[in-house]
């Protein structure tokens, strides 16, 4: 892997609400290497969107970063002023949002919307900016781009709009692209097109991607590494193969178990709901929903246990004293594939 371009350490974010402080992000650390795609997976409310918004300095007014650092090019993004962040946003770190139907300004021609970042960041004049906008519009696969550049967002379909949003994000050739559930609001067939487009453009533009999703199925073809988030914490991370075929955390098991596969006959749901982050549990936050929960889970938060150089999981099940338990059938099936893969590698 290439050089490390982003390093998030011990990030803690609270939201002030009338009911008290919601501890949305509780000690999250991860990094991003040049050219790779990191997927952050988790159910809604797990804090994955909040994490990425903090990278952009786009947190809501009632959010407060309580601790940690976000190192980018040797500087802590959390210490930057709003003005300095404006220069980074859209130019070095860009973002794609979930719903393409609402993320374009309905009263502005799409050409102008694409050209806007160029005009403010690269100081190019309007004519040049439009020329470059046209180029990127072709690149993201909008047919008839010369004419359509003067159209308004409502004249495009959902998939086309997401292509335009991608064009806006990529027009300055950013070093990091954050994609926040970019395909969730799209039809399944369009989803695949958009994902392919992103992969293709990633190579052309040489950007690193942080890909946020609740859908593990999307992750498989997209990501190099995966971080699984639960209740404001990362609970397991590793390469995409490690997470898919040798998962260690019971929550990851649950996620994989609830994902349809060719061989699955029955989908298992994870029972219950995530804990209330107004008052997070003192032990393992997943304990209440964990069928393998142990006494210690209710009392102490598990540390990360090393599985391999790239694979870590925060569960007491990996402790040497922990009893040997049998994972669900689907996980056993995956582990078998993992063993075959390991054997083949040797």
């Amino acid at each position: 892997m290439g050089e490390r371009i982003l390093d998030v350490k011990n990030l803690k974010i609270n939201f002030h609400t009338y009911a008290g402080d919601v501890k949305a992000i509780r000690d999250v650390s991860f990094h991003l290497d040049k050219g790779e795609t990191l997927a952050i997976v988790g159910e809604s409310g797990s804090g994955k969107s909040v994490t990425t918004k903090s990278l952009m300095g786009l947190l809501a007014n009632n959010a407060e970063v309580v601790g940690g650092s976000i190192m980018y090019r040797g500087e802590d993004l959390l210490k930057k002023t709003e003005k300095e962040m404006q220069e980074i946003r859209g130019k070095d770190i860009a973002m794609i949002f979930q719903d393409p139907m609402t993320s374009l300004d309905p009263t502005m021609k799409i050409g102008r919307q694409i050209a806007e970042p160029l005009m403010i960041h690269k100081n190019v004049d309007k004519k040049k900016a439009w020329a470059q906008a046209l180029e990127i519009l072709k690149l993201v696969g909008i047919a008839n781009a010369e004419e359509r550049i003067n159209d308004y967002p409502h004249q495009f379909s959902g998939g086309q709009r997401q292509r335009i949003v991608i064009a806006i994000a990529l027009v300055c050739y950013p070093e990091i692209l954050i994609a926040d559930e970019p395909t969730t609001a799209l039809d399944v067939t369009i989803q695949a097109q958009i994902l392919n487009l992103m992969k293709e453009l990633q190579q052309k533009i040489e950007t690193s991607i942080i890909f946020i999703t609740h859908d593990l199925g999307v992750v498989a073809g997209m990501a190099d590494r995966v971080a699984v988030m639960y209740a404001g914490q990362i609970i397991e991370y590793g390469t995409v193969d490690e997470i898919f075929y040798n998962p260690k955390h019971p929550y990851t098991w649950g996620l994989l178990n609830s994902m349809p596969t060719l061989s699955s006959t029955k989908l298992e749901a994870i029972p219950g709901t995530p804990p209330d982050l107004l008052d997070p549990p003192k032990g393992d936050p997943f304990a209440a929903r964990n069928p393998y929960a142990m006494k210690i889970d209710a009392e102490k938060q598990p540390p990360f246990f090393k599985v391999s150089d790239t694979h870590y999981a925060a569960t007491w099940l990996l402790h040497k004293d922990a009893p040997k338990i049998t994972p669900p059938d689907e996980i056993l099936r995956r582990q078998k594939i993992w063993q075959e893969m390991q054997a083949a590698a040797k």
């Binding site: 952009m56 949002f97 300004d105 309905p106």
Partner: protein, 309 residues
């Protein structure tokens, strides 16, 4: 779009026709004759007067004559005010009213937009609260009360501006303010709500993610999107300005349509009342049609919907 327009113009004409008809027959129901000094007139004189005004003909003929006259701008002759034609009366007075109305509209809308935007950008701060309180007061204090207070305290006590009458621009300032505060308060409230919505929208989030500054976001994206719906308020504003002009022109002795209207009502000058009624209705109908067209042109989303129609 053309079909839609033709339909709208047809309804506009229908509305005006109905207003004309209703006013005409209501006037005919009126008890007594319209002459101010009837006691002093002999029956022969009344006969001559009736002939002169066409009042000796059957009602349906008077009605047709009235409609016919209306078509080429003849609104009859005033019974009062030295027997001038109503159209002349209106023509001499419309300038002052129009100037006052337009000035008040610009004043109200301009400052309303500024105050409303400031409130929305500083949502939930003391600035927002202040604007909200001011706009509630502006909406609640009747314009005629405000007019009397302005006239007394600014013009009479401080002596900065003329008390009444119609001369240069300085004469228009107080009546403009008195007339414009209502639209100002309404605009401020409307823009604030609209912009708060817009500022919470995904495309503003995307604009922030592009690295636009707060000013660029508000100026390029938020303002335009929250201004468009304001067009729909121009109709109601016109009504409020027409209504307001009656009382404001009276208080400040401005020779306008509103003042004329009140005078005509109190002196039972039917032709003038009918004339001004038609003028007000036509004005409002035209404004409503115009705002619909403008709305269709400005808002691309609506423009498309219109094409599909």
């Amino acid at each position: 779009m053309k079909k839609y327009l033709a339909k709208r113009v047809f309804y506009m004409a229908l509305t005006l026709f109905l207003v004309a008809t209703i006013t005409f027959f209501l006037m005919k129901l009126m008890p007594g004759t319209p002459y101010s000094n009837q006691e002093k007139m002999t029956p022969e004189q009344i006969q001559i007067m009736n002939q002169q005004y066409g009042l000796d003909k059957p009602v349906w003929m008077q009605y047709l004559m009235y409609l016919g006259g209306m078509l080429h701008g003849d609104m009859g002759t005033s019974f009062q005010f030295s027997n001038q034609p109503v159209s002349y009366l209106i023509a001499t007075r419309i300038g002052a009213s129009a100037q006052l109305g337009i000035q008040a509209m610009i004043f109200g809308v301009f400052f309303g937009i500024i105050l409303g935007s400031i409130a929305a950008i500083n949502r939930n701060t003391w600035v927002d609260t202040l604007v909200t309180v001011l706009s509630i007061i502006g909406k609640s204090v009747p314009n005629f009360v405000l007019a009397v207070l302005l006239q007394y305290y600014i013009a009479l006590k401080l002596g900065i501006l003329p008390i009444a009458d119609w001369g240069g621009f300085s004469y228009t300032i107080l009546p403009t303010i008195a007339l414009g505060v209502g639209p100002l308060a309404e605009t401020a409230r409307f823009i604030r709500t609209g912009m708060v919505d817009v500022l919470n929208s995904d495309y503003i989030e995307l604009a922030r993610a592009k690295g636009l500054s707060k000013f660029q976001i508000v100026y390029h994206h938020a303002l335009r999107n929250s201004l468009i719906p304001l067009i729909t308020l121009i109709g109601p504003y016109t009504v409020s300005l027409m209504t307001g002009s009656m009382v404001i022109e009276n208080i400040f002795s401005i020779p306008g349509i509103g003042e004329q209207f009140v005078k005509s009502i109190t002196t039972n000058d039917y032709p003038t009342i009918m004339g001004v009624t038609m003028l007000f209705s036509a004005g409002l109908v035209a404004v409503i049609l115009l705002t619909d067209i403008i709305y269709g042109i400005i808002d691309p989303r609506i423009r498309l919907a219109g094409n599909e129609d």
